[in-house]
Assembly symmetry: D3
Homo-oligomer: 242 residues x 6
């Protein structure tokens, strides 16, 4: 089984870290292919960049010319998953939803700890649309930008733990979701320091994608995610021309 | 005052119709400028096309090099308004929200009548995110594609009236919102045949944009819609490079 | 175009201030007529007084014997708008709803800063009924009574700013609504001191009322706000006998 | 114990019917006093009339000069209960809330069957504000006006049973609430014909009022329903001058 | 009238206290019978114990061989009420719902003060299922275990008052519900010290059960709470074999 | 890895069918152990039976004396999962939640098709508590009892397809969840006849349980699902004495 995991940022080192983390939990026989978009921001931290990433992720997946069984969009709280679901026949899993969905099997309420405060409303909105917000105790910002996570992982862990502890104490969270693809690999340290289960959306998404493939399930095509109708699409330089 | 009204489709005749309708209700002294995106689908009827339009609308607005006072995104249920709000200092009005917000001053519940069934969930989701869904009695599809509206306006009116009547009878709507920018100009006929107020999102958006400008109000920049942070944006051929 | 703006209090100086503020933003050709109820409390700060004002506002509007195009009820969180909508053919705009509806075009979440703590639940309830509460971050009380606003405007500004800042910091509001008709005219000072858009329900209502008139839209009469049925109404000394 | 039960209509025969029904279920030692407002509509079927009744009910209670232990407002879906709660120290029970609250002890979901379609949104809104709507399967209109209930009780029973049966079959209601004070006394017939429990808000309210008195409980005065502040109230001809 | 009040704990002294409190508010002619389950935990403070109590309460009621008119389940936030409603023809009242339902007649919002923090989510979930959570300002834990309430009532009152005061100040509660059957009898002290109405679910349930009996109302049998279908039930040692 | 899958019914042939279906999708190296409770109803179709099953499932799991890695509760809409989560250190997965959670990755809205109408409210309530109901289009009953599913599988498929088609047409479901453990194995036929993805909660639960184990995740013990406190538990004949 081959699973494409697409970064939303154009920073290749993040793609590599995500793919490495994904491969580490993949079942024997699952090949993880990490993809970096051909265009867009080096880190996605807001709506403009997220909309651009939405298109860049679709573009990058359509440019991939080998067979594959599922696609993971590795951005937390980002736009675009619905478009991929229309374009593709294979299952599509967003790490925001994978993380929340998994956390809900582990505790009565979960919190997300993400990067900058400005991304909090995006994550909340995506969780609300996904129908996964009811048991969300809070979405908290560590105050670190995406690229700062890589630069100083220990500082990142400290900042995330600080918010995770407040989420457990003040917001009554029982599980923590890591709210950024770039946090992949930090879960174990944070679990040890907080004493609650910590869900990494990337690894959660891998097991969900594998499960859907194994169960022979994929996106319903009867209404919302039906194939796009034949259209004249002009002016687009990339792989979305179809 | 100059207001940009941006079509989400690349079909120029729709832009013209929308701009004409907008100018017709504009206050004396308001200049309406209709803009057609440089790339994207000739009609937007799904998530992939809508995400592409989101970027194309931002690109088109950034390419406009004259001063302006407000921007209207003239697509019903489409993605992208949040990105415009980040990029711009002037007020941004989405016709979906303009229509619903206006309808709520006119009756206890409103319904939207749109084009194809596949666009219904997009509209519902946008209204939910906007916090304008509680008094929405239903979103109904006329079954006509966007481009069919132009081809045979009388058939369009008939199909819309049929659903509007069911919305009033069965769903208890008291007001009808026209759920497509391409329906601009049909409101009066539909009002006459249904006996309830009919809100055209395009004309509603014009008055709201004018009002915000007149009141000296624009998008809050403290959190969700703060200017994008300085980023390296690669590979993008258009006007979004900033 | 003539718009009646009806105070809910019987204090004429408040009516004058509201009407002055309304006229200041009105379009050329719009005449604002301020009306003070013939009976009721000098300031409305609770349910009993608000119910009395509901009737007094209807009474005052029915007593007005000149033509007019729209009516604004200038009380924040007060009862009665639905009754006016039944009695009248012209559009009716409540400043609570006008403020919230306008704020929602400007930021992801808004807060209201009002007068006394006891009026907070009334405002919350009106916003909930209006379907405009989902994006309300909080309703906060400045602790000042309605009549204190007039006595010492600077103290009022200080008290409002204090709560507005907490709304932005703690409740994550991005826009502030002034939660009392008697705060008309304070918006600019508060915007300067808080750095976020400040919406005055009175001026917002003027532009909405003008817009509805301009678009030829008025209250739907098919169900909730149909004309009252012919009834025997006894014992009422005022103008509501019909 | 003496309980005042106040009609919202000025039709004395309805007051008598309500009081008779209330007395029939009252505990030994409970005296029911039926009160008819001094002003207002002979039947209340909409917002204008309901707001007028809100004030008329307060006026009528304040005019009563004997001691009493609780007050029941006998209108379904009407405005005003909050005002009474501010003015009085004794418990206040609204029959809309009494009916719904009681029904929720009897089945998983309940429906209300009321008079005219135009009153449905009023009832829904009052139940929503009261936090009693979640388990409401539907509010249905029998199509009969309030005064028609008295004129031809058998026709009323037939019309109510027809909607009650649809509520049980289509809306999955398990309990029916009679949605009008004027339906008092019809519950037994409707229960026999539908096979589900039927709750008359009037009799339910009597037992709730008695219970509150017996338990020594009354309205909290710390915030929403604190006594009105001392005010200058002008121009009011009735008993509300305080 | 005879009302069975069933403890969820197997601690007989708590049963006695509950029954004594219940008898104290019962109407003349009402006989209260306190029942202690034959099996289960000496105090119920979590899901496992609560599920066991659910069955133990049903078992104990079925073992009672005298006639009775209503049953009260005297556990706060516990499972099981729905099962009793299926098995019995007489009304069943849960003290969690009785408390909340009564509190809602007394103030705009109520809070529950319970025992240990771990029981808070159980109470919240039961209130949500019951459709009584919307006006719940908070559920707060006193930190005392069930059996500690009995050991040192004065310490219990202090701990409850501390949380009740925070509920009123911080959460804007206007009424306090005692969140444990074992708190029966403490209401008056807490009311005096907090100045807000205090509802004891046990005594509230007595008056509600009496009221339902007096009104001739009992559980609807048309769907959710229909009698269990004839089944082969194996292996059960108790009174549930039917 | 060893996963226990516990039937809620005492009918061993259903246990076998469930375990066979579970083993068929399990990963290489996963051993599925089917367990039948020692007591309870031969089929669970209501609250009383479901509460009994809740305890019987806990009892049966505690009686199992070999090591295991996860537990699946194979009843749709049944009580008890929370108790297992308290008692055990390994992950616990309920098939109701597994089905809904999986369906939400496949379409915009899902419906459940279950057995008897009386179980519909139980399923709805469990989905609501689990925070998985927002995207549920409907829960529909096929009208077949649990034991009838086994007796005539073809009739079962027909009845399920009939409701699934209505769910897709009328309720706008895009995915169908099989709403009974006893429907395991019917998914492929129903998918072929309806054209939409069909999720069997049993097989979905297997992949989720495997995933949680693989990711090293289990139930949070900080609050709701902390180990039961040491208690005196009397009178219980089974394995729950601890």
């Amino acid at each position: 089984m081959r699973i494409l995991i697409v970064n939303v940022n154009t920073t290749a080192s993040i793609t590599e870290a995500i793919a490495r983390q994904a491969q580490a939990v993949a079942a024997p026989g699952t090949e993880i292919v990490g993809l970096t978009p051909y265009f867009g921001a080096d880190s996605v931290e807001g709506n403009f960049e997220s909309y651009l990433a939405a298109i860049a992720v679709m573009d990058r997946v359509l440019a991939y010319d080998q067979p594959y069984d599922a696609v993971i969009q590795a951005g937390y709280g980002e736009h675009g998953r619905e478009g991929l679901q229309e374009l593709l026949d294979v299952p599509v899993v967003d790490i925001t939803e994978a993380g929340a969905s998994t956390a809900m099997f582990l505790g009565h309420a979960y919190s997300v700890v993400t990067t900058l405060d400005r991304t909090v409303p995006l994550i909340e909105d995506r969780l609300k649309l996904a129908g996964l917000y009811q048991r969300c105790a809070s979405v908290r910002a560590s105050g670190l930008a995406v690229l700062e996570l890589e630069e100083d992982p220990q500082r990142a862990v400290d900042a995330i733990v600080r918010q995770a502890e407040r989420a457990v104490q003040d917001d009554k969270a029982e599980v923590i979701c890591l709210g950024c693809g770039g946090m992949a690999g930090l879960d174990e340290q944070i679990r040890q320091r907080t004493g609650v289960p910590v869900v990494d959306g990337v690894t959660a998404a891998v097991t969900i994608a594998e499960s859907l493939v194994r169960l022979g399930l994929s996106t319903s095509k009867v209404r919302t995610y039906a194939k796009p109708r034949p259209k004249q699409i002009i002016g687009w330089p990339g792989h979305l021309r179809r």
